[in-house]
Amino acid sequence: MFDAVRNNRKIVQIFLVLIALPFALWGVDSYVRGGSAGEDPASVGDSKITNQQFQQAWREQQDRMRQTLGANFKPEQMNTPEARMATLNALIDKRLLLVEANHSRLTVSDDALRDFIGRIPALQENGVFSNDRYESALRAQGMTQPQFEAQLRQDLTLQQLVGAVGDSGIVSKTSGDAILRVESEERLAGELRLPAAQYASQVSIDAAAIKKFYDENARLFQTPDQVRAEYVVLSLDALLAQAKVSDEDVKAWYEGHKDRYQSAEERRASHILLLDKDKDPAKTKAAAEALLKEVQQSPAKFADIARARSQDPGSAAKGGDLGFFGRGAMVKDFEEAAFKLKEGEISGIVKSDFGYHIIKVTAIRPGKQRSLEEVRPDIVAELKHQAASKRFAEAAEAFTNLVYEQPDSLKPAAERFGLKIETSGWMPKNAEPQQALGFGPLRDAKVQAALFSDDALKNKRNTEAVEIAPNTLLSARVVEHQAAAARPLESVKAQIEAHLKVREAAALAKKAGEARLAELQKGVAGDKANWGADKTFSRLQPLPAPPVVARAVLQAPVAKLPAYVGMTLDNGDYAIYRISKVSQPENVDEARRRAVARDYAAVVAQEDFAAYLASLRARTKVEINRKALDASER
């Protein structure tokens, strides 16, 4: 075969160059990870938003929601394509800013970075940056120092850009004043009401109209697809209630675990501390020995000496008192010394990592064995829990098998585990969350889906055992099913008639009202109607009417007074408003003026930033891979 190579040297050479070229230009890694490229949910310019980055952002978003919503947080309801898209969009926006920051060659210098880290309060000890704290904080985050610093540098760079664009908004004072004028404007208006009821007598609804409405709005007159179900719940709690514990067991447990019912010995001690911070340890030690002598000469003055000389800021003020502590709470050397002393006794010099201590034990609380009777309830609860947990593990499997193997009844399972068969009320398919709250444990989405499956509806089988909560299994079966059906015309006739009547009457009221309004606006009709009392409408005050009305009154052109505006209200009445006076309040509260200006500036700044982002997005190639996004669900 090498003959072939030699004879076709040219061809082989060209071939080799062709093979080498891609490696030279794009490197090896584009071959190695080529396959995963399709799974990235988006790309911004040349950089990709990887699935992993998206997942992390998604998790963080969910955590935030969980914190804000607490018990109302329902992950499956939040997991909508829209929500995922929103998270992705936020990521894209951030990436756009990063790309732009890089493109603008914004950087944060090492000095600035160091300075920033040095000023993080959580990393300081006594107001000074502490390297130990920094390292332990990094460990807690599971990050290496270069990782953290790269991340921080990126954040700071972003902040530089975001701050420069977002915090530099300017609004014109002229426009601001204009806005304040509109916001504080007051309009005095009275109402003339044409009630729909007044026109009801003129309306007659014939059978054909009712039938037409019925046909056109069939959707409204349907009873839902609904089921009634019975169910059993196997839970740890149920087994707990059944569990029995004999006296012998309790006793045996107590004997076997005596140490658990022992309260440990505790001691109270005071100390005087000299910190080991002098360069010459011998010096500190000498000082400690001198102090010890002083204490030994007048043991009664221990507290006073501690107050004056101890370098432990926490305890010195309390005469060196550290309160009660058990084993494991103090530094090892200190603990050993403190637990060797008798009550009232003063130690010699004790060296620890901190420095030199002189310790005095002021009280001893000996360890104590608690009696069986004292701890019996605890033991009973503990043993019951153990027994139930153990039984639940076995029972869960048996329960799951039983409801599956005997699919025509829940009785075997109920009898075997001593459970009660409960029966539900009617449950419509796809119920609103609010309504579903009334379904009890059956509201679980998986249970609902199972109940409305063919297996449960047509074959009347038990649903599989569903874990509706930790350590809680449920199986249900349909007792009764009512398919969706149209309600007969007869049963809804009266309703439709009433509805149409109101509608027609409202239309008549509107017609009359509009005619009246036109006359008023022309100034033809002598304005003698029965106007209601004038009320003040202002955007800065509580509205004297529903928002729709207030809005209309405040928006009406008022070049000429009185001005009129009319609208149909929710209940079908037609209302005309006569605006008789437009004025500015005599004095606008200074605080109010500033608040309006501030809000205006904030809204404009926000919009500036939005426009900035939109513009970046428009001139950067942003690709969203919907398939990858949808595939990343769950």
């Binding site: 210098s109 420069a164 052109p557």
Partner: protein
């Protein structure tokens, strides 16, 4: 010396003649290419270095603004504009300095900063400067100049804001009807960005835009002209119950 057979001897000769003919060209091309690469690298290095310095001054400027140190703000902004005028950081710095100047009532400096960016800045930063310069010009009652600043092509994404500020100018001139037209077009352009363009979720965008939409409507209302009905009208309740 190694001996070559005839065929190889021939090949060697061929190569030698070829080199005699083209050697200078090859060396020249290689040299030129090397120089170009070196020059490119050097240019990049220079740019990076300039940008790093400009970026550092920008940080200083930002911190001076936070601290309210007017003198240092001015100095840093001046340094950026003089020595690093070609870097993007210079434009950003001027935006910040202008805002700081407005806050301290020094409208002349603000005007100068923004005018500089509006002429020398790039892309989005330039658009922001134009908007803000026009805003300042309204307060200076230089309405024609304000309108001229807003004239000309606008980057996509800024159309709404430009229409809004144009309305501000016209309103300040007392041209209510024209201002209303401008603000109405701002509302239309805001709706256009809302309607799910670029894969954004409509609902979310609308929520985020709500305060700005309210502001535009309020401005429109102040003209006494008709205001378009809100987009999301309450669905008519036809329920038969």
């Amino acid at each position: 010396m190694a001996t070559y057979d005839l065929e190889e001897q021939e090949q060697l000769d061929e190569i030698k003649t070829w080199w005699k003919q083209h050697g200078n060209t090859v060396v020249g091309v290689v040299l030129a290419a090397s120089l170009a690469v070196a020059g490119w690298q050097g240019w990049n290095w220079y740019q990076r270095n300039q940008s790093a310095q400009a970026s550092a001054i920008l940080s200083v400027l930002q911190r001076a603004v936070e601290a309210g140190d007017t003198q240092r703000v001015k100095a840093a902004a001046g340094e950026l504009a003089e020595k690093f005028s070609s870097t993007p950081a210079a434009g950003l710095g001027a935006l910040i300095a202008a805002k700081a100047a407005v806050d301290t009532g020094d409208l002349k400096t603000a005007h100068a900063q923004l005018a500089w960016v509006a002429t020398n800045g790039h892309d989005e930063v330039r658009e922001l400067a134009r908007l803000r310069l026009a805003t300042l010009l309204i307060d200076e009652k230089a309405f024609d100049e304000a309108l001229r600043t807003l004239d000309g092509p606008v980057l996509e994404g800024f159309a709404t804001r430009f229409a809004e500020v144009r309305g501000d100018v016209l309103m300040a001139q007392g041209k209510k009807a024209e201002a209303a037209t401008a603000w109405r077009s701002a509302l239309t352009s805001l709706d256009a960005t809302d309607s799910g363009a670029k894969g954004r979720s409509t609902l979310q965008e609308q929520e985020a835009n709500a305060p700005y939409r309210e502001l535009l409507r309020l401005k429109l209302e102040s003209t006494g002209e008709a205001v378009p009905a809100p987009v999301a009208a309450a669905p008519a309740k036809e329920a038969a119950r």
